[in-house]
């Protein structure tokens, strides 16, 4: 079965696996992993031009025909976030922006108050904000109202690989959101990417789980398959959870009568 593309504002996302490019020094290994992942949208950060960045990640993504999703990583305030987004739009000629406003460098947790204000300003300026946030269902609703084109709750803190710590919250966010939900941050293994989609997420963003894996290309493929499996599983209609066992073999015609067993 074909997996339909996902509409995020005016942008059509072909693959539901969004990739990150950080956490790996070998650019050719990154290129192989991105190609194998089947991703069509991949994040980059905006930094001062340095003469050493000759072989740019931007040129590589262009070659792979992967769209860029600039992020505002490293921003702590609304002002920095908006300036970074404006620079990204100018440099990369895209309205897409992954809004990332962190509270401190130790936890890297999103500062939801600043994030909300930044989202509102960026939406007003014509951006398509994909907003990194905590797994708080109330915050997700507020961000949507502020103009988020997609909300991106974390499964667990960035780079931890702890997976989805509060699946109930993620499920709740998905059940109420009118915009796409992208699980962002914390994924370590493919099973967790599948779970995100099963919980109702429309897409998954994976960076460290692939780029820091021992075999990034193999993990990229695992993630692609997991997102596909999760999509099919979510739509197949899972069985309800039960307290007790329910036999799938018939009870009639057994060789020992029921009384003997009790």
């Amino acid at each position: 079965m074909h997996i339909p593309p996902l509409q995020i504002g005016e942008y059509t996302l072909q693959s539901r696996l969004i990739m990150g490019t950080g956490g790996i020094t070998d650019l050719s290994a990154l290129e192989k992993a991105l190609a194998r992942s089947g991703t069509t949208l991949t994040t980059v950060a905006m930094r001062r031009y340095s003469p050493e960045t000759k072989t740019s990640v931007f040129t590589m993504l262009e070659g792979l025909r992967i769209d860029v999703l600039p992020n505002t990583a490293g921003c702590y305030t609304v002002k920095d976030t908006v300036l970074t987004a404006e620079l990204a739009r100018e440099a990369l000629e895209t309205d897409l922006i992954k809004v990332e406003v962190i509270a401190d460098e130790h936890t890297l947790l999103p500062d939801v108050i600043e994030t909300l204000e930044a989202t509102e300003q960026l939406a007003d300026r014509g951006f398509t904000p994909l907003v990194y946030t905590s797994d708080d269902p109330a915050a997700a609703v507020r961000l949507e109202q502020a103009g988020a084109a997609a909300v991106m709750p974390l499964g667990s803190p960035i780079g931890t690989g702890l997976g989805i710590l509060n699946p109930h919250n993620i499920e709740l966010i998905c059940s109420r959101a009118k915009v796409p939900v992208v699980l962002d941050a914390g994924i370590g293994a493919a099973s967790q990417a599948a779970l995100a989609i099963e919980l109702g997420c429309d897409a998954v963003l994976v960076a460290s789980a692939v780029t820091r894996a021992q075999d990034p290309t193999a993990m990229a493929e695992a993630m692609r398959l997991a997102v596909e499996a999760g999509f099919h599983s979510a739509r197949a209609g899972r069985i309800p959870k039960r307290e007790h066992a329910l036999a799938s073999s018939p009870t009639e015609g057994r060789i020992s009568p029921l009384e003997d067993l009790t």
Binding site: A45, T59, V68, L87, E90
Partner: protein, 79 residues
């Protein structure tokens, strides 16, 4: 000749230098007056002058004054 700050480095540019000249100087690429690389590739660079983004269409008209502060940024790996 104005001394400007590009990405926190002091740089001396020619008299009457514009943002196009500053970008060409920093990236080492030859640019047209419209700020496009003459090699035909994409530049992937944006400029802020004193904290304000200068759209590429205004680069050639933006003459840099003494002590002007420029940020020249591009995409790097991340996220």
């Amino acid at each position: 000749m104005p001394t400007v700050r590009i990405n926190d480095d002091e740089t001396i540019l020619a008299e009457g230098a514009t943002v196009v000249d500053a970008v060409a100087h920093t990236t080492g690429r030859e640019l047209t007056a419209e700020g496009k690389p003459t090699d035909g590739g994409r530049l992937g660079v944006a400029v802020a002058l004193s904290g304000e983004v200068i759209p590429r269409s205004r680069w050639s008209g933006a003459v840099l004054a003494e002590a002007a502060e420029l940020e020249i940024v591009t995409a790097v790996q991340g996220g």
